[in-house]
Homo-oligomer: 370 residues x 2
């Protein structure tokens, strides 16, 4: 039987959004960003939108998602469109017109807004309050459990993949194996294009796996994540085949200590830029300040990069319930790079590292058969 | 050595865009959509943008893509940002100010446009002509060759996966294997979340692989594609394990004939909605009109869904060089579904089916070991 009432979680989320709308005297909100409407309703269809008013929720979708709508949002009104999304949105909104309609300016294109404006009569479009992004920053117990699952799938797949590495395999083969092991464990899709980068390729923070081959003495950087029930994990480990050159031993230790110092500083109330600075300062002290070329981390959840940004650019403070990646790195162009990344849950008096793969220098040197 | 001049292809594309800008007396264009700036410059970095004026091209990116910028766009100006993209865009644009700047309204968020408006003084934002989307619709010989590669990878991976199917395997295991076989053949990422759907799940046009198992007499619908050098393939086959029930034999033949009729109608100058109607009419004649719940197909290229839309919604005409999917389907809720999809290149006097996997009724009944 389909549910005729939304779950408690969905009810609470809708109520928080409605509260924010009431405070601004906005009678209706249009949510057309998939992760956002999934968060607010549980509806998984693509190319859809949700109209929320004080009393009703209307899902606007198409025939491809008929069964999903029946299963997931039987408690809401569902409008199946035949025309393009924007013109059907106009119809649905106009059928119960409101004087003001909130839209998400950071997620809607100029063209869609212009078309809504042109199509709607007597409706003023206003900016939605940032409530949904703020709500999504703080993960509930249920979300944390799902993220734990996404992390477990990524970790277990990584361990399985490590066992299959052989001398002579390409980055692409290892990436294929890693994604295979994630998917068969229930990951619907890689959280992002998995990075498997050998030697000079590991010097590129966003390397694309190619035809470089595993050889004795090489380094391999893995940056990967799973997607479970919509939620992402995001991990990085760097390993050395057979042995580690002394220069990279020092670099590995610099990155690892930098990461540990940053994690030790994470707790509610601390400024993002201050955590970034702690990690960055240690790497600078080790002589590699110029070679840590990106921010320390980012929020993680339904999107692999979401608010907050754990970087020098952000004055925002950490809040209990946030989940952020902590991923310092040192990159030597043309030679190689080391990055270590864990997913960390912010708590009132500290934090909890949600990922458990070992990252000691010892664990980073691996044996590989021919 | 990095190239100090763009390739002929890139030069031509930039010249076409500049011509369109000159015609509208627009001195500069901002391109912030990744597939578009890749198309116009060859730059693969993410979270970046490209500013094109009559005389210069400036890539605005960050440290993660330093090496990519050196390799791919050494011929352009490159600005490495430290701040967020929008505020650095303001800086770059303001440093060589123009009175009018074109933006892509269908790809830029309202928030970004508002921030540009607020940050820029003396610059009026205007809508870019639809030149880039129109150029991307018509594939060059080089693009067709790359798409051929993306199709070959998908086909070869499918054949390899078919050999590994065993009774008792789950949809997820088959999807994992299919994506594994694509990736090790050079696909950077699945063109979209691969669909492997057994029986009732095959009735969902956008099914998500789960824990349904292969059994004797079941049907399995595969909808998958590869990504090679940025370009996508997109194929669907439906197979029956051991035998095909007579009802589904008729349905399979209805879908196959519908697809063949549509393909036979494809040539430059024909209206999208007319091709859709031909496919739809045959399925209606077979008694399943209500069960073909989506458009016939879509443009394919750097994006898996791009212009044109091969559906009843579009009055646009086919043009030589377009590549479209042709994918009719019949879905019986709770029971199963059949869809057959190929990638088709539009030509002046007909079309070329770029995908070659067999789709005869005979090939659709497969043997599977225990």
């Amino acid at each position: 039987m389909p549910r005729l009432k939304p779950s408690k979680t969905i009810q609470n989320r809708l109520e928080m959004v409605r509260q924010a709308l009431r405070q601004k005297s906005i009678p209706a909100l249009l949510v057309a960003h998939r992760a956002d409407y999934f968060y607010l309703t549980g509806f998984t269809g693509e190319d859809s939108a949700v109209l929320i008013t004080g009393r009703s929720v209307t899902v606007i979708t198409d025939g491809r998602f008929e069964s999903a709508a029946k299963k997931e949002v039987a408690w809401s009104k569902v409008h199946f469109r035949r025309g393009d999304l924007t013109s059907e949105l106009v119809k649905v909104i106009q059928s119960s017109p409101c004087q003001r309609l909130a839209i998400q300016a950071d997620k809607m294109t100029v063209a869609t807004r212009d078309a809504l404006r042109k199509g709607l009569t007597g409706v003023r479009l206003v900016d939605a309050p940032p409530t949904i992004s703020q709500m999504r920053e703080r993960k509930s117990a249920g979300e944390l459990k799902t993220m734990d699952n996404a992390i477990r799938v990524a970790e277990s797949a990584y361990r399985a993949m490590l066992k299959t590495i052989r001398i002579g395999q390409t980055e692409l083969e290892l990436a294929a194996r890693l994604e295979y092991e994630m998917k068969r464990r229930g990951s619907t899709e890689p959280a992002f294009g998995s990075i498997v980068a050998i030697d000079a390729n590991a010097a590129l923070p966003h390397a694309v796996p190619g035809n470089r081959r595993v050889k004795s003495g090489c380094m391999i950087l893995f940056d990967w994540g799973a997607t479970v029930d919509g939620y992402r994990s995001d991990l990085t480990r760097t390993v050395f085949v057979g042995s580690i050159p002394s220069k990279f031993k020092a670099i590995y230790e610099a990155v690892l200590t930098s990461q540990k110092k940053a994690i030790a500083a994470i707790r509610a109330g601390v400024r993002m830029s201050d955590v970034d600075a702690i990690a960055r300062e240690h790497i600078a002290d080790c002589g590699y300040g110029e070679r840590f070329t990106h921010g320390l981390g980012h929020g993680l959840g339904l999107d692999v990069h979401e608010s907050p940004s754990l970087s020098w650019r952000s004055d925002q403070k950490l809040v209990a319930g946030m989940v952020v990646t902590v991923e310092p790195g040192i990159y030597l162009p043309g030679v190689g790079g080391v990055r270590i990344e864990d997913d960390v849950r912010v708590m009132g008096n500290g934090c909890q590292v949600m990922s458990h793969l070992s990252k000691s220098l010892k664990s980073a040197v691996i044996d590989v058969a021919r």
